[in-house]
C-alpha cells in the first residue's frame, strides 16, 4: 500500500458526526464457468432455450441419479485459480449444502465447503489516482447453480425452469480488503477482465453469468470490524457503487443514532437505489453441510496443473507492464487498456502503425468517448482499429492536421469510410504549399494593421494570426508552415 493509495482511502471515508467511518468491503463473485455442459451432468449449459429444455435426469434429481464431475469445469476453475495467483489444492472435496426450494431439485446444492479447489490468491487494482491496491482472494470453489422459479406464468401457481439447474459456478471470495465503492468496482472490473482473458467466464453481469454479493460494514479507523450486511442482486458495476454508498451511509446513520447494525442479507433495489432487508441471521438456514457421498474427493495431478499453468494467456497485469515497457505508456493508460482485452488488442493494432502514445490517447480519448455516446462495446466499434491506425498515419505524415483528423474521425464513425478516401473526396489534405499560405498571410496582414502593430509589441499575439489563417484555409493549412510564414512576414524571430 503506497502513500497515494492511503490518501485515496482516507478521502473515501464517510464523514459522520462522530468522526470518520471507514467502509470495509468483501465481495463474493459467482462466475458461471464457460463450459458447454453442466457441472455434474451432460446437459447443455447454454443460456436461453425453452424452459426445461436443458435438463437431464440428474438435473431433475430423479431417483437413483448420480452426479459425475465435468473435468472441463475443474480445469476452468484451476485455470482461474492460477490467473488469480492462488494456491491450487490438489485435494478438494464436494459437499452437500442442504435446503428446500422448488428450484433446487435435489434438496441440496453440491458445493465445496471446507476444502475448496482453490485457496488464497491476490488481485492488484490500478486506481485512477495512479495508486495500486492489492485485494486478497480467500478462496475459489466450484458449485452448482439452481434453477429458476417463475411466478408470473399462472395466477395461483409458480412454475420452475431447471435449465440452469446444475450449471457450473465458480464462487470467488475476496478478503475484506476493500475500503471504498471505487475499490469494489475496480475489483470486480479487474476480476472480470482476468476471467475474460482466461476464457473461464464471459463476465456478462446483465445476463447473470457473473453476479456479486457484497459484504459491507463500517468502523472508525483502527477499530475492529463492524457487523456486516450482505447485499445481493447487484447486477452491474454501476449499481455496485450506488449500493455500497447507500449501505455505508445507512449503517453510519444507524450507528450514529445509537442503533446497531443487524447482520442480515439485504436486497439492492436498482430503481430506488437503496437496499432493504431480505432475511436476518436468525432466519438463516442451517445448511447441514457434509461431504457428498456420491462423489469421491477431487484429486488433481500437479503435472496436470502445471500444464494448465503453461497454457495461460498474457494476463492484464503482465500486459500492462509490457505496455509501459514496450510502448512507453503511463501506468494508468496501460492499466486502463490492459484491463479490457478487446481494448488492448484494439490498441495494439493501432499502435502497430502509429506513435503508441498518440494511439493510446486516441483509443482512450476520442474512441472511448464516441463509443460511450453510442453505447457500444469496443468489439462493435464502427471504426476498425486498422482504420484508426491509417488515420493516425495520415496525421503523422502531415497529410492532415490534428484538427482535420478529428473531423475525419467523426465521418468515419458515421459512414465507416476509409480515412484516406474521406480526405481525398472532401479535399481535406493539408496545405503545405508556402505560396498559397503566403497569399493568405499577406491578405490578413493587409486587412489588420492594428493587430500587426500589437504583435510587434507582444509576439505571443501571433496566435490570433495563426487562427485567422487556419480559418481562411478551412483548417487545411499546415500549422508549422503557417507559423513560419507569419513570423517571416511580420518580421518576428523564428522559433
Amino acid at each position: 500500500m503506497n502513500e497515494r493509495a492511503e490518501a485515496g482511502r482516507q478521502a473515501a471515508r464517510v464523514h459522520g458526526a462522530t468522526g470518520d467511518w471507514e467502509i470495509v468491503i468483501g465481495i463474493e463473485v459467482h462466475a458461471q464457468v464457460s463450459s458447454k455442459a453442466k457441472l455434474f451432468s451432460g446437459a447443455s449449459a447454454d443460456f436461453g432455450g425453452e424452459p426445461n429444455d436443458h435438463v437431464s435426469l440428474v438435473d431433475a434429481a430423479m431417483p437413483g441419479m448420480l452426479p459425475v464431475i465435468n473435468e472441463y469445469c475443474v480445469e476452468q476453475a484451476v485455470r482461474t485459480g492460477l490467473g488469480l495467483n492462488a494456491q491450487i489444492n490438489l485435494h478438494s472435496v464436494f459437499d452437500r449444502k442442504n435446503y428446500f426450494y422448488p428450484d433446487l431439485p435435489q434438496g441440496y446444492q453440491i458445493s465445496q465447503y471446507q476444502q475448496p479447489v482453490v485457496g488464497e490468491g491476490a488481485v492488484e487494482l490500478d486506481m485512477p489516482d495512479g495508486s495500486t491496491v492489492e485485494i486478497g482472494i480467500e478462496r475459489l470453489h466450484l458449485e452448482q447453480d439452481a434453477g429458476k422459479s417463475l411466478h408470473d406464468q399462472h395466477p395461483t401457481a409458480s412454475f420452475v425452469d431447471l435449465n440452469r439447474s446444475g450449471v457450473a459456478l465458480m464462487e470467488i471470495v475476496s478478503k475484506p480488503d476493500m475500503r471504498s465503492a471505487d475499490e469494489a468496482k475496480a475489483y470486480v472490473s479487474k476480476l472480470r477482465a482476468i476471467l475474460r482473458y482466461l476464457g473461464t467466464c464471459d463476465g456478462n453481469m446483465e445476463q447473470g453469468s457473473m453476479r456479486a454479493d457484497i459484504n459491507v460494514s463500517v468502523r472508525h479507523p483502527g477499530e475492529p470490524l463492524g457487523t456486516r450486511c450482505e447485499i445481493k442482486n447487484v447486477n452491474s458495476i454501476r449499481f455496485m457503487g450506488q449500493a455500497i454508498d447507500y449501505e455505508a451511509h445507512r449503517q453510519v446513520d444507524l450507528l450514529e443514532d445509537g442503533g446497531q447494525v443487524v447482520q442480515e442479507t439485504r436486497l439492492f433495489d436498482p430503481r430506488r437505489g437503496e437496499t432493504r432487508a431480505m432475511r436476518t441471521k436468525e432466519e438463516a438456514h442451517d445448511y447441514r453441510y457434509f461431504p457428498d457421498p456420491d462423489l469421491l474427493p477431487l484429486e488433481l495431478d500437479q503435472a496436470w496443473v502445471d500444464q494448465i499453468a503453461g497454457s495461460l494467456p498474457e494476463l492484464p497485469d503482465s500486459k500492462k507492464a509490457r505496455f509501459v515497457e514496450q510502448y512507453g505508456l503511463s501506468a494508468y493508460d496501460a492499466g486502463v487498456l490492459a484491463d479490457d482485452k478487446a481494448a488492448a488488442d484494439y490498441f495494439e493494432t493501432v499502435a502497430s502503425g502509429a506513435d503508441p502514445k498518440i494511439a493510446a490517447n486516441w483509443v482512450t480519448g476520442e474512441l472511448y468517448a464516441a463509443l460511450n455516446k453510442k453505447g457500444l462495446e469496443i468489439e462493435a466499434s464502427p471504426v476498425a482499429p486498422e482504420a484508426l491506425r491509417d488515420l493516425l498515419g495520415l496525421m503523422a505524415d502531415q497529410t492532415i492536421s490534428g484538427r482535420i483528423a478529428k473531423d475525419v474521425f467523426e465521418i468515419m464513425l458515421e459512414t465507416g469510410e476509409a480515412p484516406l478516401s474521406i480526405v481525398e473526396a472532401r479535399g481535406l489534405k493539408q496545405v503545405t504549399d508556402t505560396g498559397a499560405i503566403e497569399q493568405i498571410v499577406e491578405e490578413i496582414i493587409a486587412a489588420n494593421p492594428d493587430q500587426v502593430a500589437e504583435v510587434k509589441e507582444k509576439p505571443k499575439a501571433i496566435g490570433w494570426f495563426v487562427g485567422q489563417v487556419m480559418k481562411a484555409s478551412q483548417g487545411k493549412a499546415n500549422p508549422q508552415a503557417v507559423n513560419d510564414v507569419l513570423r517571416n512576414k511580420l518580421g518576428l524571430d523564428q522559433t
Binding site: 430423479m62 448420480l66 428446500f100 435435489q106 434438496g107 447441514r288
Partner: protein
C-alpha cells in the same frame, strides 16, 4: 415335466440351453406361482406380460444360439431398482405413480444377459428396516413358519419381498440391496444365499438411494452358484457412478472349486455377544468345524471396534438418508399433497408420503448434521468407520475370510419387535461389513430349534468375491441345507 419353480437358477439355465423346456414355460410356471402367493405380499408390482414378452424373445435367442448368460431366467426385482416404464416405488407412498424413464444399470445388465422380469418386489420403505414391516404396501410374510406355534413370520428386511419370493419359489433369484444387512439378514431368515458385494462392485446408478456410501446391490438366490452367476451379470464399472470401480469382472462361477485347503479363516471374538442364543453359537462352532474339515486353517482374530459399528452406522446412514430423501418434495414427481404455500405443500407431502421409520431416520440424520452437533456425531461416526475399516485391514493380513453368524436370531413374528433399537440390533453382525465396504455372504447353515433357517456369514477382502464364493460353496456343501418351507399359501 419337472416342477420348473423347484429348479435352481443354474439348473434352469442349463435346462433352457438344453431345450428341456422353454423360457415362456419357465416364466409361466413362476407367474402361476406368484398368482397363488398373494398372502406373502412379496410383490408390489407384478409384470406377467413383460415377463412373457421377454421370455418369448429369450426363446428366439436360444433358438438362434445367441443365448446370454442368464437367458430366459425369471427374476424378481427389488422395487428400489428403477425400471423403465414400470412403476418404481421403493415401497413408499411418496413415490406414488412414479414410472421411471430409465433403467438402472444393474437391471440393464441383467436384461442384456437375457434375464426376464417377473415383477417388482416389496421391501421396507426406502430400504429402511429389518423386517419388511415399514413398506407402504404392507408387510411381507416369510414362507417359513415356526414349528411350535405355526405363527406367520417376517422375512427380514429390507429386501424381504425378494427373499420371500425366492424362498417361496416365485422366482429363480432376485435382486436386492444391502445398506446394513438388507440382503444377508433376510437371506438368513428365509434359508437363502444372500450376497452383498464389495462397495463399488455394482453400479448404484438408477437404484433409489438410501445411504450412498453404504448401499450396494446384490442377489438373493437358492445356491452359492446362483449367486455367483447373478453377480457376474450384475457387476461392472459404470461411468455414471463414480464410486463404481473399474476392475474386470471375473467369471465368479469358475471360482467355485470346492477346494479351500490351506485357506485361513478368522473367527472374531467380538462377535460372541452377550445374550446370543446358544443355538446361534452352536451353529457358528459347527461352521468352524466344517471349514476345518475341508482343510482350512482357523484362527482367532480381533476386530476391536466392533461394538461401535452399530451406533456409528445409525449416524452415518440416517445422515446420508436425510439428504438423499430431500428430493421427494412433491414438486416434480410422486405424491403431492397441496398446501397454502410452498412450505405447507412440502410439509403436507412429506408428512403423508413418508412412514414412521423413514421419518425417524430423516429426523436423526437432520439432527446429527446440524450445526453444533455435526462434529460430535457425524465426524465422530466417520472416525469410528475408519477404525472399523482398519480393524478389518489388519485382520486380513492374517486371514483370507472371516466367519460369523449372520443374525443373532431366527425370523420373528410381525409386531414382535416394536422397539426400534431392538430392531436395529438385528443388523449387529452385518453393518460392520457395510461400514468397511467389504463383501459378505450369508449361507443357510441349519435350522433353529423351532424349525427356522439360520445363516452363517463369510466376510471377504475388498473385491475378492472369488475367495468369498469359494469359501461359501464349501460351507454350503458341508451344511447340506435342503429344507424347504411347506407351501401353505397356495
Amino acid at each position: 415335466m419337472t416342477n420348473l419353480t423347484k429348479l435352481t437358477l443354474s439348473d434352469a439355465r442349463d435346462g433352457l440351453r438344453g431345450k428341456d423346456f422353454s423360457a415362456v414355460e419357465l416364466a409361466q410356471a413362476h407367474i402361476d406361482a406368484i398368482g397363488q402367493a398373494g398372502q406373502l405380499n412379496a410383490f408390489v408390482t407384478e409384470t406377467p406380460d413383460i415377463a412373457l414378452e421377454m421370455a418369448a424373445r429369450s426363446d428366439e435367442r436360444i433358438a438362434r444360439g445367441e443365448a446370454g448368460p442368464l437367458e430366459g431366467v425369471p427374476l424378481g426385482i427389488k422395487d428400489l431398482f428403477c425400471t423403465k416404464d414400470t412403476l418404481t416405488t421403493a415401497s413408499s407412498h411418496i413415490l406414488d405413480g412414479f414410472v421411471p424413464a430409465y433403467e438402472s444399470t444393474v437391471t440393464a445388465n441383467l436384461w442384456r444377459d437375457g434375464a426376464v422380469m417377473l415383477g417388482k418386489t416389496n421391501c421396507d420403505e426406502f430400504a429402511m428396516g429389518s423386517s419388511n414391516e415399514t413398506s407402504y404396501y404392507g408387510p411381507v410374510i416369510n414362507p417359513w413358519r415356526r414349528a411350535s406355534d405355526g405363527a406367520q413370520l417376517v422375512p427380514g428386511g429390507s429386501s424381504g419381498g425378494s427373499a420371500s419370493a425366492v424362498a417361496a419359489r416365485l422366482c429363480l433369484a432376485a435382486t436386492a440391496t444391502d445398506t446394513g444387512g438388507s440382503i444377508r439378514q433376510p437371506g438368513a431368515l428365509t434359508g437363502l444365499v444372500g450376497l452383498k458385494p464389495t462397495y463399488g462392485r455394482c453400479s448404484r446408478w438408477g437404484i433409489v438411494a438410501f445411504a450412498s456410501s453404504l448401499d450396494q446391490a446384490g442377489p438373493l438366490t437358492r445356491s452359492v452358484r446362483d449367486a455367483a452367476i447373478m453377480l457376474t451379470s450384475m457387476a461392472g464399472h459404470d461411468a455414471k457412478d463414480t464410486t463404481s470401480v473399474d476392475l474386470p469382472v471375473p467369471d465368479y462361477e469358475a471360482a467355485l472349486t470346492g477346494d479351500i485347503r490351506g485357506m485361513r479363516i478368522g473367527i472374531p471374538k467380538e462377535y460372541r455377544i452377550d445374550g446370543m442364543p446358544a443355538e446361534i453359537d452352536a451353529l457358528w462352532q459347527q461352521g468352524i468345524s466344517w471349514l476345518q474339515d475341508a482343510g482350512a486353517e482357523v484362527r482367532d482374530i480381533t476386530l476391536p471396534h466392533t461394538q461401535y459399528a452399530l451406533p456409528a452406522y445409525y449416524i452415518v446412514a440416517p445422515a446420508e438418508a436425510s439428504s438423499n430423501l430431500a428430493r421427494y418434495d412433491g414438486v416434480r414427481y410422486g405424491l403431492r399433497v397441496p398446501g397454502d404455500d410452498i412450505t405447507d405443500m412440502y410439509e403436507n407431502t412429506r408428512a403423508a408420503g413418508f412412514g414412521a421409520e423413514v421419518k425417524r431416520r430423516i429426523l436423526i440424520g437432520t439432527y446429527v448434521l446440524s450445526a453444533g452437533y455435526y462434529d460430535a456425531y457425524y465426524i465422530k461416526a466417520q472416525k469410528v468407520r475408519t477404525l472399523i475399516k482398519r480393524d478389518f485391514e489388519q485382520a486380513f493380513e492374517d486371514v483370507d475370510l472371516i466367519l460369523t453368524p449372520t443374525t443373532p436370531n431366527a425370523a420373528f413374528a410381525p409386531g414382535e419387535i416394536t422397539d426400534p433399537v431392538t430392531m436395529y440390533l438385528n443388523d449387529i453382525f452385518t453393518v460392520t461389513v457395510n461400514m468397511a465396504g467389504l463383501p459378505g455372504i450369508s449361507v443357510p447353515a441349519g435350522l433353529s430349534s423351532d424349525g427356522l433357517p439360520l445363516g452363517l456369514q463369510l466376510i471377504g477382502k475388498a473385491f475378492d468375491e472369488e475367495t468369498l464364493f469359494r469359501g461359501a460353496g464349501v460351507l454350503e456343501e458341508a451344511a447340506g441345507f435342503d429344507a424347504e418351507p411347506d407351501v401353505w399359501w397356495a
